[in-house]
Amino acid sequence: MTYFLGHLPELGSQTVTHLALVFTALAIALAVAFPLGTFAARRPRSAPAVFGTLGVVYAVPSLALLAILVQYIGLGFWPVIIVLAAYAQFILVRNIAAGLRTVPDAAIDAAKGLGMSPLQRFWRVEVPLATPVILGGIRLATVALIAIATLGGYVGAGGLGQHIFFGLQRQYIAETLAGSIPAALLAILADGVFRGLERLAVRRITG
């Protein structure tokens, strides 16, 4: 506790760095996952190939992937971002595709028949109606990324992992806990926030 209180300002800035890692990666991951998920939803026959490939990425231990990336692009912020974004793909793409497939055929038929262009139909009808499922994916991905982002401590990207990493190295349990407890709390908090958003979105769509 004394350790924790003594390092409060440092922990605060590390929390900010941690969240920056997670949300930068999430933003990049979403930008990639939207087209991929849409593709998988539109062409069901391609879906197994898409999910299979992403599943392989998902299955590679994130620490191993990080170690490999560091060999090529060095230490710091970016290898962690790439690992996080790659890891989030599987969850996001699967949920985006599943969400788009829940959109009722009647809504799509009506949107076409009323004269929406494919893009208008996508953003004004399909995405809003798929939002609850997509938000579920973002929630799972965020929680997972908050945990994995602790690896940033190993490669000089900062974040709460730094305390965990140094604490483990020095076998100083208080330091380890000072990193791991806030990380766990962050994950729980993010889970709660997204659950709330999901419920709002569901209520808006189905009542």
Partner: protein, 309 residues
């Protein structure tokens, strides 16, 4: 509107869903495509707004080949109502109705004004319904909103694909009457798909009977009833009891107690079917008499109204 040798075949199907249909639909008319499920009536309807492309032949709307038009722009000028309604559940009633006007970039004030006008037209109180979500409405109310959405930008053509198939009989009847009233006021050309013979007789100026992708008869309701082109048409109508009902109903039950200028007469106890035969071959109205006494007058409209009851 005109179909010229239109043929549609779905992938992986061995026969044509629509087979060489040539048909003219008069501007401002109410045309009902009638037939059992799978006869190609919905498919034919969906070639009009380009949701389905024919493999042969052409569809002309307002003189232009649908294929040559930008289908997105075309569809904004053609109202579209489907059985499943397809309201957007994440939008309010007002936002649903405003879809096409917003696509056409009407200004906000004009849209708000138009939404209220349309809600009144379909007999939903704007104050109460504007801000509601589709899930808060009954099936009948949802389809009223569906109709309002379809006619929001005053399309010259309105396509309706079994629009009232999912609502109960009483609601269906009032929706039918109101649809008829609304489109008559707007002078919209309506193409309406149904398998319900009563509905077709109640609404149509022209009934187009279809079977296995082909048009087997295109004629007025009166002519379809009294001069079916094929035994198939007679069976289709008969199976729905209409002819039998016409046989059972008497002229005196349908007549108007007014004296018109008619010169030809029919007995008050004659069946409505008899009166239809007379209308087809002779005058548009008949004087109704009993024992030499004139009781009133009857026309085809009265027969229709009687069927509606």
């Amino acid at each position: 509107m005109r179909f010229d040798g239109v043929t549609v075949r779905y992938p992986q199907s061995s026969r044509n869903a629509v087979d060489d249909v040539t048909l003219e639909i008069a501007a401002g008319s109410f045309t009902v495509l009638l037939g059992p499920s799978g006869c190609g009536k919905s498919t034919l309807l969906r070639t009009i707004n380009g949701l389905i492309a024919p493999i042969a032949g052409s569809v002309y709307v307002g003189g232009s080949d649908v294929r040559a038009l930008d289908s997105t722009l075309l569809r904004r000028k053609i109202g579209y109502v489907i059985q499943a309604v397809g309201l957007f559940s994440h939008m309010t009633v007002a936002a649903n109705i405003a879809v096409v006007p917003s696509l056409l970039q009407w200004d906000r004030e004009r849209i708000r004004w138009r939404v209220d006008e349309l809600l009144q037209l379909v007999r939903l109180d704007p104050q109460r319904y504007r801000a509601r979500y589709p899930r808060e409405l009954s099936g009948g109310e949802q389809q009223r909103v569906g109709v309002a959405r379809a006619i929001a930008a005053e399309p010259s053509v309105l396509l309706m694909d079994e629009p009232f198939g999912a609502v109960d009989a009483i609601v269906r009847r009032s929706l039918q009457d109101e649809t008829r009233r609304i489109v008559q006021a707007l002078r919209t050309t309506v193409v309406f798909v149904t398998h319900d013979v009563d509905e077709a007789l109640r609404l149509a100026d022209t009934i187009v009977v279809m079977r296995e992708g082909r048009v087997v008869q295109s004629a007025s309701p009166l002519a379809v009833l009294t001069k079916p082109a094929l035994p198939y048409v007679a069976e289709l109508l008969d199976s729905h009891d209409v002819i039998r009902r016409l046989d059972l109903m008497r002229v005196r039950e349908a007549m108007q107690p007014i004296a018109g200028p008619e010169t030809e007469v029919i007995d008050a106890d004659a069946s409505l079917r008899e009166s239809l035969n007379r209308f087809l071959t002779g005058p548009e109205h008949l004087a109704v008499v009993r024992d030499g006494q004139r009781l009133g007058s009857i026309g085809f409209e009265d027969v229709r109204r009687a069927l509606r009851r």
